[in-house]
Symmetry: C2
Subunit: 745 residues, 2 copies
């Protein structure tokens, strides 16, 4: 199946000559429609402004409100007062308030110091001057960059006030107030205290120094290293603002497969220029450090972390960074994994490596985020077990300013994985979940897959480390083991594309990541509704339908790609499309067959005691829910068990039937999403509606391709007939196996 090909076939013969009688009706209609759209644009262009609905404004559009929300805003869109000073971050908060309220109300919000004694005014207050206590609220509720929003009555005057202890907190609170205006019709009862649950809310950019993004599907890097530091793209300010609006406070600028050159002085000056833009928005910058940098750019002949010269080199380099870069946060390291250098090259442990960098950073209060994503070139152990095997013994051996960064699952950002067994298994070490926002294994930019559901599933997963309720969220926020140093990382989906993320709906994944990093107990559905209201329309009918589309989208992708606990069935290298048959890769765990283990007898990876026993890495109560092939939740079945094709699921279907059923359901779900989107045309501007519509068509075609190719392959192995009524794959297996995608991103 070639998606493009099919699409074009359905779309009519592209060769039809233009304007030659009846055959061109469709074409002329399309053109007239385009002209119509352009004439609409003309109305705007008359005042000199053409406003393309290209998604660039993200969720910060501040549309003019209507209905009850407008009436409510009307009462408050008059004037505001402040208590604070003119620090830049404070000014950014004021500016955002003016911009947001002004745009939504359609008239300027005035700064008026005397409005503290006026009805309806808005107050921004930071520090102790006009504290919460005055209104009977306790300031101790506020932590770090948290904020409070209250509807209060001062001297008989009803007002809305944003309180924070820090300037960044005030900025966050201001963004929250602007969200409230767009989503909360009862703002005059507002009493909200919101504190960040995690300390490091981090976007990891896998951006290379030449501008290419590893696993990037939204254009080139937004970091224009070539022209930095002499020219700093204003777009970086937009990017910082978007991050601040959802509480993100750290960014790693470069790929974990790191180039040592980023640590040279010339590059540090470029890093400094970026950091300077980020700083007033409360964002620290971090770098991925290549472990062998002392050899590559330091002129040493070793990178052994216990070598005094190496330690001195890193200390000097770290001092240089802090002398050069404002608000530097620390290092992210991928070591001894997929060919990257690391302490293992010198017979040292990950702790040895991390602690050396931690020592260099300590005097500057910097941190090391050391990735646990490791699997060896030579280790025959189940790949799902290797990180645990290597890191668990190191628990308690890491310095205080080290976090171990653990991917949500034990393999690699699959559509679904059970939570990583390291969660809960390293009580003495702060663990930082690493989520992937860019959709490497989820159809790239063009599939609509709302990852909030995936993130929520991981965060709410129960490790049972200290009995029931020991969720991953509690590990992320440090509450389970009482860690002060905490964080969550997301691998960014941001690039130079005008819409930032390769599609309008991918923006929701960036947004949901930020909201969940702030509060890992938040609901993915609540977040969807909030995002939709700001991004498209606050109309309840729209929100209802669009929420359904988004909430069903992730399970749809699981169904058409890797149902029932399958994983890593994607094409070699690029991870585009289905390739469950691939078995010719050098390392066993690079082959999809390694994961599906489909043969004439059955399918699935036995990770119970009779197999790799990866199950034993989980706490007993967690393991218990998966150990029994008859009681395990279907969605993890083939992750943990190898079962006969005729194995009966709880619903009475055989695995063979259920597998096909899930593939079909995945395709049907995308078709349902298409239909729902079609019905929302009146709520969304033409440009964004059309783009999503076209992407959904690509997704539908590719879902079908996944379904057909997977069924064709598994049938070639199971030798079973298709159940009655099941449509056979469009092509034979050889067709799918022959497809190549040399230009895949």
């Amino acid at each position: 199946m070639n998606a493009s090909l099919r699409h074009s076939r359905e779309g009519g013969n592209p060769w039809t000559p233009a304007f030659a009688g009846v055959t061109t009706v469709g074409r002329n209609n399309a053109l007239l429609k385009r002209i119509e759209v352009l004439l609409c644009l003309l109305a705007l262009s008359v005042c000199g402004l053409v406003h393309a609905e290209d998604g660039h404004e993200l969720w910060l559009r501040y549309p003019k409100l209507s209905g009850e929300l407008a009436a409510q805003l009307e009462r408050h869109a008059v004037s505001y007062w402040v208590s604070g000073n003119f620090f830049p971050t404070f000014m950014l908060a004021r500016q955002e308030l003016e911009r947001g309220v002004g745009a939504m109300a359609g008239r300027p919000l005035k700064y008026d110091p005397f409005s503290a004694n006026a009805d309806g005014s808005i107050g921004l207050t930071v520090g102790g001057d006009r504290g919460l206590a005055e209104f009977g609220h306790s300031e101790v509720l506020l932590q770090g960059d948290g904020f409070a929003l209250y509807a209060v009555t001062r001297n008989g005057h009803h007002q809305l006030v944003v309180w924070a202890k820090t300037h960044v907190g005030l900025l966050y609170g201001t963004f929250e107030l602007l969200r409230q205006f767009q989503t909360n019709p009862h703002i005059d009862q507002l009493a909200l205290v919101s504190n960040p649950a995690t300390q490091l809310r981090m976007l990891d950019h896998w951006d290379n120094l030449d501008g290419k993004i590893e696993r990037g599907y939204a254009g080139r890097s937004i970091f224009d290293w070539w022209r930095l530091p002499d020219y700093v793209d204003p777009r970086l300010t937009d990017y910082a603002r978007a991050n601040a609006s959802i509480g993100i406070n750290g960014i790693v600028l470069n790929n974990v497969n790191a180039n040592a050159r980023v640590l040279t002085h010339d590059y540090l000056l470029k890093v400094a220029a970026i950091a300077k833009v980020m700083e007033p928005w409360g964002i620290k910058v971090y770098l991925s450090a290549r472990f062998s940098a002392p050899k590559e750019i330091g002129g040493l002949n070793t990178a052994d972390p216990l070598d005094p010269q190496v330690r001195k080199w890193w200390q000097d380099k770290t001092d240089e960074i802090y002398n050069t870069v404002l608000n530097f946060g620390g290092f992210l390291v991928k070591a001894n994994s997929e060919g990257q250098p690391g302490p293992g090259d010198y017979g040292r442990t990950h702790a040895d490596g991390a602690n050396m960098l931690a020592a260099a950073l300590a005097r500057h209060h910097g941190v090391v985020m050391w990735r646990a994503f490791v699997y060896s070139d030579v280790n025959p152990e189940d790949r799902a077990k290797q990180a645990y095997s290597e890191f668990k013994p190191l628990d308690g051996k890491f310095a205080d300013n080290v976090l171990v960064q653990v991917k949500n699952g034990a393999i690699d950002f699959q559509p679904r994985e059970p939570f990583h067994p390291l969660f809960g298994a390293m009580p003495k070490t702060p663990l930082m979940p690493e989520l992937q926002i860019t959709k490497e294994y989820l159809g790239f930019a063009t599939h609509l897959v709302y990852l909030g559901k995936l993130f929520e599933e991981v965060l709410q997963a129960d490790t049972y480390a200290h009995g029931a309720g020991s969720t991953v969220a509690k590990i992320a926020d440090g509450s389970l083991e009482h860690h002060a140093l905490t964080g969550i990382a997301g691998v960014a989906n941001i690039g130079s594309d005008r819409d930032w993320s390769g599609s309008d709906f991918n923006q929701a994944n960036w947004y949901a990541f930020g909201r969940l990093a702030w509060n890992p107990y938040d609901s993915s559905e609540r977040i969807v509704r909030e995002w939709l209201a700001q991004t498209f329309s606050a109309d309840p009918a729209f929100i209802e339908q669009a929420t359904q589309i988004m909430l069903r989208s992730r399970e749809a992708a699981v169904d058409y790609m890797t149902p029932l606990g399958l994983a890593h069935q994607m094409g070699t290298g690029h991870h585009y499309g289905p390739a469950p048959w691939v078995n010719d890769q050098k390392r066993p765990e690079w082959n999809p067959v390694y994961y599906n283990r489909a043969d004439a007898n059955g399918i699935g990876f036995d990770r119970t005691a009779t197999g790799s026993d990866a199950l034993a890495q989980y706490f007993p109560q967690a393991a218990a829910q998966w150990a029994d092939v008859n009681t395990i939740d279907d969605k993890y079945l083939l992750w943990f068990h190898h079962v006969p094709w005729q194995h009966k699921l709880k619903n009475g279907q055989t695995v063979w039937q259920a597998l096909i059923d899930h593939y079909d359901h995945g395709v049907a779900e995308v078709e349902a999403m298409q239909q729902q989107w079609e019905g929302l045309q009146s709520y969304v501007d033409a440009e964004r509606h059309d783009k999503t519509k076209r992407f959904l068509q690509i997704q539908r075609n590719e879902a079908q391709w996944w379904r057909d190719a997977s069924i064709a392959y598994f049938q070639s192995v199971s030798k079973l007939p298709l159940p009655a009524g099941v449509r056979p794959p469009e092509h034979d297996l050889g067709y799918y196996q022959a497809l190549r995608f040399p230009d895949a991103p």
Copy 2:
């Protein structure tokens, strides 16, 4: 010298902590200024629209006019009538008129069929209905897609009318009328007939299928092959419109170093989707064809152009293309050059290769553009002579639908070269000049270099093929040898960057190319003024100063890079920065020393009879002006002569003195451009002013680097002291030689 490094040093210590007393005044000022700018933006955002001045609108901004231009427009911005039908291109012309006049007048222009009998109205008329004859003008003046603009009086009503014979001509005329409103205060005396001098006005994109652009400095390709044909970026429409506004009517979609895959059916469907967008704007699409495609994607074991199977394969492939792609134009071919396959691989000539493709295209009226940019891996002949040696004997052997595409100079898009000796030397063959708009050898995107001057110099160069006045322009437009098939190609500087071309001023080079392709006799200065008025400000004081900046810019670049006829002194591979010392490349002609031939005795390439005698490839009258070392124009001296360091120029300076003088002058010119730009702040929005200012600072730093590194090298060879008062290079030669740019684009 490292530009970034120096810049940061000058810019102050980036480590200065924020907001800590007196040292932060600058920082806070900068921030307050940023806030000010943002507060200004707020005024706009109140109506829900923030209008970033990011250069995206190019020269099609249609600013609200003021002064006498506004008063004049006022009289005509009432209503318009049309004579024509509803063909899409005709509708685009109407739409553009409404958009442009509407925006500039600040109120909608109304379509009113009865306004043909009203004062002040505008008429768009195509075909014969209301012909030129009615007003005493002859229609025979109009050719092809030409147009006429007249201020006329109809039944006593004064009107402006655009006439054309074709819809595309009407579109061109409409764009011209909109230009006239912005630049001509005497529009009521308008009587203008404009016909395209060349038939193919072509942009060559060197874009790869993975989105990377060879020699691209403005982001990724605008052709998003991955998502085509299912999703067609609306930006392609903006691109087509911009091209149409300056008369460009053909685009080659892919790199001349071609990938055969673009000819597979899947890719042709993508090409078809692009072509569909281009068609109503009068733009044909072309493809670069890889000569070995019959082997690579056709399953043949040869690509011999005389092999019947090969010929059939190309015929079938060409038929398939025309059956798939609307408005396809033909092939561009780079063959047997820099490792590309070609007919020479089978002992055949370029004519054999071109004619095979021409035969396949003939029934579809397609053309072959066969590039003369060839130099052999093994030929020891002066590289400047090889194209002539290989192609001149083939004159008269090419099929009727073949053009030979000849770079402006005999080497490769240098800051200055004498015109290519093939111009005039192949009277029986249509020659198509190939110019480079992207600045591969001219500082990439960040140097302000207006290439209109370079293009004009080439087009006005006299080949003396038929005596004085046998200019390259006359070869381009076919008038010299009476060719009907004519064209000019420009290698595009267009990418996904918001400003399209990597800087606001690079847009002028795209613009100037289009204008000169339409009329190769046009003046680069006139074009500058026209472009500036549309792009920045029509204020005469601004135009005066900014024109000076642009007109001096190209000579400045020649001076700081390659004065006195030097060429190809750039860094290996990327062509960034100076590297006159490089002598370690495999092929002699890949080394800058090959071109400068500097030694203890002197400098320059002897291309007279005592040397390579490349001079003999020119017509005697042309050669005569360069043959004598004492009378040759200084700017070509070292291109044609090897002279002692103490050789006296006409102004009395030695070559050694003059060389240094030119380098210094180049730097001084950039500094003067900086100063002039600084003075134009009040005419230009802050965003674009600041961006250009920063780019000029980069250019200044790099000009200095060129000057210093070049002087350091040539002094190491000449062993001469620096003339009195000359500042020595900032670093020693070793410093410059050690600089590496692994991340250069």
